[in-house]
């Protein structure tokens, strides 16, 4: 089948501004990933096309981009899901460095702000074994452990688009993963950070994050749980 790919192009060393380039691929399959098509374009049409990719099956989070106007991982969406006319653009809200590659630093900076690491300063179990945790306690934060930091959520969030001080869904998801872990002891510290003006209150439940998440994390739900936790103190 024939697939038409319209790709956002910008080379900082050559171009003053971005433009779109269209490529027609003749013998595409409906089970081809959009990433396969990009590789094909890079291999046979224009080697200068730049994008990130690694695992190619939706686990590493490298290839978040806007496909037909929505954030997705190029490796996790097939031609049969998006049709034969496909527009590919970089994710929004992060500076475009080249073509589909954006500057991820602000994203990771926000992630680091919520103390996304396990904190427990109590003595270790005396038997030298694991800290105990019931399957129910483990299930409490299972959903948010799935995050691969691809930025699909944060860069689909209207609040993140609006101003650059909002932590964004991904950082809040990371906070959720630790705050609701029964073994972790720094819930209070993290809740203090995320209840600032740049945090929870800026989530206006537009739900774009949840729909964009390639890992199907219930992000809006996780953020709502965090909001309630600041009110009730129940974690």
């Amino acid at each position: 089948m024939q697939v038409t790919l319209k790709i956002f192009r910008y080379h900082p060393e050559v171009d003053k501004t971005f433009h779109y380039e269209t490529y027609v691929i003749e013998n595409a399959q409906e089970t081809d990933r959009v990433l396969d098509l990009l590789e094909y374009v890079k291999g046979y049409y224009d080697g200068t096309l730049a994008f990130r990719r690694s695992c190619a099956h939706g686990v590493c989070g490298s290839d978040a981009m806007r496909i037909n106007g929505q954030n997705m991982l190029a490796c996790k969406v097939l031609v049969r899901d998006v049709g034969t006319h496909i527009t590919v653009e970089p994710i929004l809200g992060l500076k475009v460095i080249k073509d589909l590659i954006t500057d991820m630093e602000p994203f990771f900076e926000n992630y680091k702000k919520v103390l996304p690491w396990f904190i427990n300063n109590s003595p270790l179990p005396e038997d030298g074994r694991e800290r105990r945790q019931s399957p129910e306690e483990r299930a409490r934060f299972d959903d948010t452990t799935k995050c691969i930091l691809c930025a699909c959520c944060t860069t689909s969030c209207p609040s993140f688009w609006a101003s650059d001080d909002y932590l964004g869904p991904a950082a809040l998801v990371a906070a959720h993963r630790f705050i609701f872990d029964s073994r972790d002891e720094a819930a209070a510290e993290r809740l203090k950070i995320i209840s600032e003006t740049s945090g929870l209150a800026r989530c206006h439940t537009a739900f774009n994050c949840t729909l964009a998440c390639p890992r199907e994390i219930q992000i809006t739900k996780a953020i709502a749980e965090l909001k309630l936790a600041t009110i009730t103190g129940r974690v």
């Binding site: 990933r33 730049a50 099956h57 939706g58 686990v59 590493c60 460095i97 396990f118 019931s134 872990d181």
Partner: protein, 597 residues
Amino acid sequence: MTKLHQFDVVVVGAGGAGLMAALYASRTAKTAVISKLYPTRSHTGTAQGGIGAALGNLEEDHPEWHTYDTVKGSDYLGDQDAIEFMCYEAPQAIIELEHMGLPFDRTPDGRISQRPFGGHTNNVTGKPVRRACHAADRTGHMILQTLYQQCLKNQVTFFDEFQVLDLILVNGRTAGVVAVELATGEFHTFHAKAVIFATGGHGRIFEVTSNAYSYTGDGAAIVLRRGLPLEDMEFFQFHPTGIYKLGILITEGVRGEGGVLINGLGERFMSKYAPTVKDLASRDVISRAIYTEIREGRGVNGQNYVWLDVRPESVNQYAAMDGRTNPDGSPYTVTGEQILTKLPDIIDFCRVYLGVDPLTEMMPVQPTAHYTMGGIPTNKYGEVVIDEKNTVLPGLYAAGECACVSVHGANRLGTNSLLDLVVFGKHAGLKAAEFAKHADFEALPAHPEEEVRAQLEALRNGSGRENAFEIGREMRKVMFEEVGIYRNERGMRFAIEKIHELKERYKHIRVRDTGRIFNTELLNAWELGNLLDVAEVVAESALNRTESRGGHSREDYPDRDDQNWLKHTLIWKRNGHTEISYKPVVITKYPPKERVY
């Protein structure tokens, strides 16, 4: 315009092994991690099923059993002292990961949950044992995330999206590495007392592979170019269950939870090949079994695949037939919902890529190139050794998939890759930091980056007609077909000739992107050069070993030959030619015997 940095320890690669090494090295030494990807994009994150350790949380188990299973799995080519070291370190390593916050699945009494995996057995009964500690089917993801988070917590210095291009050796000692910053195209020289390579494998030399695009054998190729040997490169693991055509992995955990392999005639064929553990035999055995079924015309619809069946009714039916029980002795049964909680990502992959729902339909699978058993030779402390007598190269370390300790021998046991990177990553880090404490910096050569700069400029300014993509495609195809699951002399000779031809053509490739900022075309071309170098030594090593053992199966030499081949291959590249030498396998407690599952 070259930037200079100085660190006690430089870790190259930010997967599980690299982060583990960085975490432990940074406790006492000034440490930097250089990675061509953001650390969380590393391939460790795709590991699914579990990490092996004889915790005995659900039933009796001992590190000794784990050791024996690993030795047997390695087809007796693994070094038994290193294997014993790893398996006895395993429980402590897992507990440390848990203490770092890794969210393992839990047993009802709150301990780390474990499940059966291929080749892991109760040494008394021969039945599968629950040894794989897991976090759903994203154990690797959790390990990678946890280690990255801990590194952030401990303020390890990261150089993300820096491609290491060269290793600086001065007078047989380590002086640092040269890297290029992807975002600017600038060269950076890292002056270091100790360098740890944790650069991963090279599965991208094969057509059907579960490996990431970034798995291009950079570390192995750099080491080879610097005149150091690689070990046991002929041994490559083909995982039995990759998604048909795509190669995306379907974890062994599926079979651990009771899934079975079915051929085109609807038969459960593994009972023919491994009567005791059936679908939980080790990977090389199952891959060959699938291939044999396909070759004898029992693939599905005459195609190159078989079914993997994890529908609850099938699982329950075969579990009853096998007399499988829960830890409390009751018959083993599952529901669709339980399968969904234990294997959510696999179910998702099948739905996305195949449009198949594994709870109601069977999955089409074929063996897929998966894991590099060979690599940079090291001892069990991660120190790189450079000859038959295991002479240590001061200041150079390797860990993870790029290293060959060797604990996997001719065939790696499922769950041992994660264990490998955790245990040996840690010890490489500790050892490197200790080394750095006593060592001095080697003086850097005048222009350490000159050679690689010339290498890249040659690629950038090449005006040839050859397309790098096409060369890569041809290499992957010939390697998969001729140096894949089954090998023979004629095919491998053909493959080597083909690789030589491709290497010749590679000199004339054209890189159209002349920019410096994120010139991914240039870097992909450089990576292709690595792949070709590695593919060549893989094929040469394989041709040289005239026996079948573990992941290396020759049609013209179908039997294992302990008389002549119970030894490791070392391969060098000198003056454009490969040279092969050998070193003995360390055997302590387990004399080689026939391998039956």
